[in-house]
């Protein structure tokens, strides 16, 4: 089981689709229940990863799976090359964790073509998981593109008024970036082949060891970075996001926010930065600048939105700015902050989208002006919304704070100090837009008669939110659960990025270095089996 864990996990949803196709199309409950079961089983399959202590000691790849897939001699080789390390671990967990929640959230929201919807959700899950566990650039690219398709349909078929525009925009926007990345991937491969470096298909671990000339790294980083920047999205490549989020059905928005955006940031951490470390210093000021602009810009624009969902969408731009800033600070604190902020954003913004979804299901509008005084009618909802709001603001004790703080801390310790100062203003702005919207929606008297009969959250809806709330506090209070498994991998990654992870002072941390180095030959051996 453990040997094939990643494959089973990745393709289990696909298996689910096969069964799903033969279920009667009219029985919505059965379809949803089945999908929920599939996603829960997938989650269960992935659970051993979260409890595996091997990640705390070694930053290398674990749960490796390696098969030759396409091998055309001197043309190219692609391998089915899976593995997971501390960096992808929690993103995998986040994915398997969030999908059942989204399935639950569709219970009343989706009534059109349920079978298709569920199939798309499961397909999306396979795509996301595959992208996180791929160690072969080619395989990664396939999963990366595979995610696009179900998301396109989710937005386009089950979306709102302007869904077609949003879906097509989403698709083409992201595809432009990823196609350029494809060129870069191919280039790296042939460069490596021609340089005679030991290769293992498009395996990134071998590609990490490449010594590309600066000029090539520059362009390659540009291509990779561009693609990932669109996905993140970084200013000014973000305009697909508000549209996609606003039009997508709740489940789509949640997954988009929680996982799909992480593909971009993950891509930076896993591919763009460690593969092209020499180009990194050239780009970092620029990218950090964009991140900071994203934080401030996203916040200011979010502030003035009249559609709650759009507001949350723009807030994502700001949040991911923190992630990127942390990652670009190239030290352990910043990277850890960025990584945990990815999870946080997934949880908090996912929860916000669910919350907007709850409102939308009840009132079929998301305009802030349509609401007001909802707190009187929906006290439980108000409480949950409040907690999530503060998590999103980054109140200490909630998850948001840990991520933001570490990201900023990392940035302050790096050359990005001045950027970080400006980024910190995002802390103020986040409070401004979130509290303002909260006030306008929840507080005040019920002025709109349509809000008189709002029902508070149902048990199902509370169940959806509870796990998210749990993690909001868990990460806020015991983030070490996560850091302990991320640290070794992050250190190794930072070394790969050409950065000194920490000025090693205490002997305690130098111990964790040792396995990081020794893991390298082990993985090399894996590659040639």
């Amino acid at each position: 089981m453990a040997d094939y864990l990643l494959s089973i996990m990745t393709f289990f949803p696909l298996l689910g689709i096969l069964v799903l196709l033969f279920l009667p199309r009219d029985n919505g409950g059965l379809l949803k229940g089945f999908t929920l079961a599939v996603s829960l089983i997938t989650f269960a399959i992935s659970l051993p990863l979260a409890f595996d202590n091997v990640f705390t000691t070694s930053g290398g790849m674990h749960y490796r799976e390696f098969y030759q897939w396409i091998n055309i001699g001197d043309f190219f080789q692609m391998n089915y090359n899976l593995g997971v390390d501390g960096i992808s671990l929690w993103l995998v967990m986040l994915t398997t964790f969030i999908v059942p929640i989204t399935v639950l959230s569709t219970w009343n929201a989706v009534d059109k073509n349920i079978k298709g919807f569920m199939a798309m959700l499961l397909l999306l899950e396979t795509g996301m998981l595959g992208a996180f566990v791929s160690l072969d650039l080619f395989l990664f690219y396939i999963f990366w593109e595979l995610m696009l398709i179900p998301m396109y349909f989710l937005i386009g078929i089950w979306g709102g008024q302007n869904r077609i525009y949003a879906a097509v925009k989403f698709f083409i926007y992201t595809a432009v970036g990823s196609l350029l990345m494809l060129v870069a991937i191919i280039f790296v491969y042939y460069f490596a082949v021609q340089s005679g470096a030991p290769m293992n298909g498009f395996g990134i671990q071998e590609l990490y060891k490449l010594d590309l000339p600066y000029n090539a790294q520059f362009w390659l980083f540009l291509a990779f970075g561009f693609s990932f920047a669109i996905k993140v999205p970084m200013f000014p490549l973000h305009t697909w996001l508000p549209d996609a989020h606003t039009e997508a059905p709740t489940a789509g928005s949640v997954i988009l926010a929680a996982v799909l955006l992480k593909m971009g940031t993950y891509g930076y951490v896993r591919f763009a930065m460690p593969l092209f470390p020499e180009a990194l210093p050239t780009f970092i000021p620029f990218l950090a600048f964009l991140s900071v602009v994203g934080i401030i810009y996203g916040s200011l624009v979010a502030m003035m939105q009249d559609d709650i969902k759009k507001l949350v969408a723009y807030s994502s731009v700001a949040h991911l700015g923190f992630v990127m800033l942390g990652v670009f600070s190239l030290n352990l604190q910043g990277l850890a902050g960025g990584m945990i902020q990815m999870i946080n954003h997934g949880i908090s913004t996912g929860a916000l989208f669910l919350i907007v979804g709850f409102l939308y299901e009840r009132r079929h509008t998301r305009l802030i002006t349509e609401f007001g005084g909802v707190a009187t009618k929906m006290p439980i909802f108000a409480t949950i919304f409040m907690i999530v709001t503060f998590s999103s603001i980054g109140l200490p004790g909630t998850n948001g704070f840990v991520g933001e703080f570490l990201a900023l801390m990392g940035a302050f310790q790096s050359s990005l100090r001045w950027y970080a100062v400006f980024a910190t203003t995002g802390v103020i702005l986040a409070a401004v837009y979130m509290l303002w919207v909260y006030q306008r929606v929840m507080f005040g008297k019920v002025t709109n008669p349509k809000n008189e009969n709002l029902k508070d959250l149902s048990v199902r809806e509370i169940i959806i939110m509870l796990p998210l709330l749990l993690f909001i506090f868990w990460i806020g209070i015991f983030p070490n659960t996560f850091f302990s498994k991320m640290n070794p991998a992050m250190e190794q990654m930072l070394i790969q990025m050409g950065a000194n992870p920490v000025a090693v002072v205490e002997p305690a941390t130098s111990e964790t270095h040792a396995p990081a180095h020794s893991a390298t030959p082990a993985t090399q051996a894996d590659g040639h089996k």
Binding site: V301, M303, A336, G373, T424, Q439, G444, P479, N487
Partner: protein, 653 residues
Amino acid sequence: MYSNLWLIPFFPLVGAIFNGLFGKKIKNEAAIGGIATGLMFLSFLVATQNLFKLIGDTEKVHELVMASWINVGNFQLNWEFLLDPLSAVMIMVVTGVGTLIHLYSIGYMHGEEGYYRFFSYMNLFAFAMLMLVLGGNALVMFIGWEGVGLCSYLLIGYYYEKKSASTAANKAFIVNRVGDFGFLCGLLTLFWALADKGVWTLNFVKIAESGHLLESGGLLITVVTLCFFLGATGKSAQIPLFTWLPDAMEGPTPVSALIHAATMVTAGVYMIARMNGLFAMAPATMMTIAIVGGLTAFFAATIGLAQNDIKRVLAYSTVSQLGYMFLAMGVGAFSAGIFHLMTHAFFKACLFLGSGSVIHGLHHAYHHAHLHDDPQDMRNMGGLRKKMPITFITFLVSTIAISGIPLFSGFFSKDEILWWSFGSTRGHWMLWVLGAAAAGMTAFYMFRLVFMTFFGEQKTAARAKDHIPESPFTITIPLMVLGFFAVVGGYIGVPKILGGVNRFDAFLAPVFEQAQHLNEIHAHGTHATEYTLMAISVAIAIVGIFTAWVMYIKNPELPGQFVAKFASAHKVIFNKWYIDELYDFLFVNPCKKIGTFLWRGIDVKIVDGVVNGCAWVVKGIGTGLRYTQSGYLYNYAVAMVIGAVVIVGYFIF
């Protein structure tokens, strides 16, 4: 030894969670209030026990590590508590005053919707505040720091159906966040600065130990401390971030007493005191703090002169008194500042609760008479001393205390601050002037308040006049206790010059002495000077009281004439120097405008415009090219010939 320290914040947390989750089910108000108050009292008991233990202990600084929190590389952060004399004083104030206010609330909040919610928030606040003061490192402190902001937000917005309440709540939180921005910047810069020297820590004790690694008076330390100070101004309502506090009076009165008088707003003072070692190393910052504190004391007092809302007067008074504390911090009188913090907690809480009692009574009366007059407007009051004797007496006592009349607690603390501001190595006589002027005004407007409320004719509408009751015991008992402390609270810190031993100073000495010593901060001057200054300040206070008596008792037409004469000045003061409007003009409106511009202008038009423009151009080119496909054979043949000619021609020529 001090391993039960965690219980102090833990009890209120339990109360908060319990009431928050199950309060709605419990219909019994007494049970809800009782649980909350009881848990606060338990916490108070533990705090007292620890205080006495600490007093008896020779080792004055104790850390308690609970668990590891964030552990990333060299950055290792724990959940840890710190008990030293400073935090001991703070926990006593918080739990003590907190318990009383909880008790008070049981009666005061009677019949309110969301009773459980109120107590849950109050307990949560107590928890946060205790985390703030007990936090062993800057981040645990920051949890409390933001936590009190959150609770303040929740409690100000308690009447969330009122627009003004929720707006005030937002304002409070957001302005606090501006301060937090400073705090975070300071913290992160400090961390980096220390990490640069090889010390990876946010632990207060370690920071204090390694503060000397930084250049004293250098740019770095100045920036760090200024950032921290910005944080403090936010939390403690100093210039320029004081505007939220008067608005915060939208919350229920116990909230004002607890949060916006006794505890939360003093967090900034506490924080500076906590980091005194760093601040002492940055004279420029210290001077800034002193000036800002002095100015705040002065300006808030001027605004207080003209307000008619009973709670707003108290709010400006609070701002003004906080200004004193900052003045103290700025001139290096750390223990004096903390001393004033404590005495202020007693008398200001008492004042707020007293005003709450008045409001409660009037509200009751209006309710009875079906009137909708504003129960907080002093112009509707008057002559209440007979109706509410206990309230009146405790209120009067506290007013005397705040005015700085000798033998009352406020006198000792305020006077020590004034003395330091004059005589400290970091002081200046102008600071003293500011402080003294503020003291005079304080005496004036506080007595104006007393006179308007309790003396003279009853101006309450006739129907309600006779229905003003004295408040119930749950309200008056806390009043009496606090009134008692407002009188005697000062005696633990009687200065040497008045024959005391200043036990308070001595108790806090381990925290501040080293920094004061290292940076040569001490007050110097002859006893004569000190006596003179003391006399002057007392005189000023008495003049203030007398003026108030003249204007509001003896000759009630005078204020009207006065206002008429200085109409414009009064208008400025009445409208709080137009600070709110200024901020709206400077920050709020531009932000909104920029936001709208960024969205409608940049985002939609330019950024998205470029994207859609690309699509449009591509499509346009496509449509254009499409018309080359004319359907006429001739054109196709021409294209082919052109193609062939160009291809062949290019390569053969």
